[in-house]
């Protein structure tokens, strides 16, 4: 058990520190890199819970795709961060108020939280209901059989959001020359070339 405890505190410690560094690092690229480290340690914690599928999906989706896009945007932005920080102090009071409200809500929620009976058992053996199946099969069973409609609805909402994002950002610019590959390949030498025999000293 001591090794598990050690691994847990290692992952959790690095996760907390790197999450702190995300918001305190001066350089935004460093922030994103710490975010990646935080994702990675969260994946480690998932593995310790026995949820290896979710752990790897977290790495593939968040580290492999989302954070790469963040890094892209942050690297390309040309912002002078010392300028941005100049007026930051004037927003501290309102930030503190919002933070206090959220903290109070969290505390109140936690105080009145009702736990499922037998939750110790669930924590000890999260996939007890799917004995003999591995992680991936158990998740598939839940998503594609038991909760198929909820899952499809979530997919539909994402689809609508994607179409919305494309519609909002798409604009047709005038005067842009584009390569139409099918047109190029459909060109026929007979249509575009004209062979002329030119006798000397006459011109075309």
């Amino acid at each position: 058990m001591i090794v598990q405890a050690f691994a847990f505190y290692l992952f959790a410690g690095i996760l907390t520190v790197s999450a702190l560094m995300v918001i305190t690092a001066r350089n935004p690229v460093h922030s994103v890199l710490f975010l990646v480290l935080a994702f990675f340690n969260a994946a480690g914690l998932f593995v310790m819970l026995g949820a290896e599928f979710i752990a790897l999906i977290l790495v593939i989706v968040y580290v492999g795709a989302v954070a790469v896009l963040f890094l892209f945007v942050v690297m390309m932005l040309d912002i002078n961060f010392s300028d941005m920080r100049k007026g930051a102090m004037q927003y501290v009071p309102i930030g503190m108020v919002i933070g206090a409200v959220l903290l109070t809500e969290l505390v109140m929620l936690y105080g009145t939280w009702q736990f499922v009976p037998g939750r110790e058992q669930n924590i000890a053996d999260p996939v007890a209901a799917f004995a003999g199946q591995n992680n991936t099969e158990a998740l598939g069973q839940l998503i594609y059989t038991n909760y198929i409609f909820a899952f499809q609805t979530a997919g539909l909402i994402l689809f609508v959001a994607m179409i919305g994002a494309i519609v909002l950002t798409h604009r047709t610019r005038a005067g842009v020359r584009k390569q139409a590959v099918s047109d190029q390949q459909a060109r026929n030498p007979a249509d575009v070339l004209e062979i002329q025999k030119i006798t000397p000293k006459t011109g075309v």
Binding site: I2, V3, N27, V29, H30, L33, V36, E52, F53, L56, I57, V59, I60, V63, G64, A65, V68, L71, F72, M75, M76, N134, N135, T136, I148, F149, Q179, V181
Partner: protein, 381 residues
């Protein structure tokens, strides 16, 4: 303490031994892959390739390694030091970490985890960080351009690679690497997966930044891309990482499509040959394809590269996922399927639940109606 040693110590010692063996093997292969590349390129261009150091030039990779070790590491004064040094280490470490789940033979695998192929995919999708960090930390325009090119290229081709892996997984029914190799594959399934094998081969060329997709390095336009500021050991780490990634991707292609350590079909009588030899031979075959395409093809233009990834491979692989799953379902060949599939079952279930929901609504309306009628009756009285 003794107990701790008995539970974990021996296990750790064995694991360390395996890790040293695997890393040593990979490094040895990388060294001789560079030699093979120069020899193959030489042969295809009617030259001899390296031939002065050792017999047939066989010691050339070792000489190259010693040369790189003994050079001076230069860090540009404008570079972000920590990230600059972290980038090559990360790329190199990731290219080695991925080997943990590769089965070299039946049972010859360091970590036989349930989600092996996902692990491999996750690690290979992280490889882009080393390059993008190098491009940014060098604080040089060429390096930055190379890093951006490489990152967008790898992200684009990863999408179609993921879908190809899904196609294979549909046929094998497991995410475990050994079970993927051992899953039965009738001829029709091989035929069905063959187009995906071709797309996969092209995608791994793009994923490892090899010709004809080597725009991130593009020595004639951006003088070496993200590696332009690196020298000596930091450069060597990039180099080793890239070649280890090439071998890794070839091994992945072998495991997904070419039957891993199993002997080739029609050569079943050669089962006495150890599995690792088959595995190595098949991987070498795919690697030869890498070198061959380098000697043969000119470089793509960048917009053509993106067009190929997003407009051709992505729709094709997406369609193939549908085709493969439809074929498997209609032939009752889904892995792990015990009874004949009832294709209408989901429809029946949804109709049933709709009817149930409708009945419930009707009951609710009726009860509300009863209440209203009841109230009115009371009023009339």
């Amino acid at each position: 303490m003794i107990e701790l040693w008995n539970t974990y110590g021996i296990w750790t010692a064995w694991t360390l031994l395996y890790i040293v063996l695997i890393v040593g093997g990979v490094m040895f292969s990388v060294a001789y892959l560079t030699y093979a590349e120069r020899k193959v390129l030489g042969g295809m261009q009617r030259r001899q390739g390296p031939m002065t150091v050792g017999p047939f030039g066989l010691l050339q990779p070792i000489a190259d390694g010693i040369k790189l070790f003994s050079k001076e590491t230069i860090i540009p004064s404008q570079a972000h030091r920590v990230v600059f040094l972290l980038a090559p280490m990360m790329l190199f470490a990731l290219s080695l970490v991925a080997w943990a789940v590769i089965p070299f033979d039946k049972g010859w695998v360091l970590a036989n985890i349930n989600v092996g192929i996902l692990y491999l995919f996750a690690i290979s999708s992280m490889g882009v960080y080393g390059i993008i960090m190098a491009g940014w930390a060098s604080n040089s325009r060429y390096a930055f351009l190379g890093g951006l090119r490489s990152a967008s290229q790898m992200v684009s081709y990863e999408v179609s690679m993921g879908l190809i892996i899904v196609c294979v997984l549909l046929c094998t029914g497991s995410l475990n690497m050994q079970e993927i190799v051992l899953a039965p594959r009738p001829i029709w399934m091989q035929v069905l997966l063959f187009p995906m094998f071709i797309v996969f081969l092209v995608s791994i060329l793009a994923e490892t930044n090899r010709t004809p997709f080597d725009l991130p390095e593009g020595e004639s336009e951006i003088t070496g891309g993200f590696m332009v500021e690196y020298s000596a050991m930091t450069y060597a780490l990039f180099f080793l990482g890239e070649y280890a990634n090439m071998i890794l991707m070839s091994a992945m292609a072998v495991i997904l499509f070419l039957g891993g350590w199993l002997p080739l079909p029609l050569l079943g009588f050669l089962t006495f040959v150890p599995g690792i030899v088959w595995f190595a031979l098949k991987t070498a075959g795919v690697l030869f394809f890498f070198l061959w395409s380098r000697a043969t093809l000119p470089r793509f233009r960048y917009d053509q590269l993106m067009r190929l990834g997003w407009k051709i491979f992505l729709p094709l692989t997406l369609a193939w996922v549908v085709i493969v799953s439809g074929t498997l379902l209609s032939l009752d060949a889904l892995p792990g399927q015990k009874e004949k599939a009832n294709l209408l079952a989901p429809v029946e279930r949804s109709v049933e639940s709709l009817i149930e929901g409708g009945e419930e609504i009707l009951r609710a309306i009726e009860s509300v109606g009863d209440e209203i009628v009841g109230d009115e009756a009371v009023d009339e009285e």
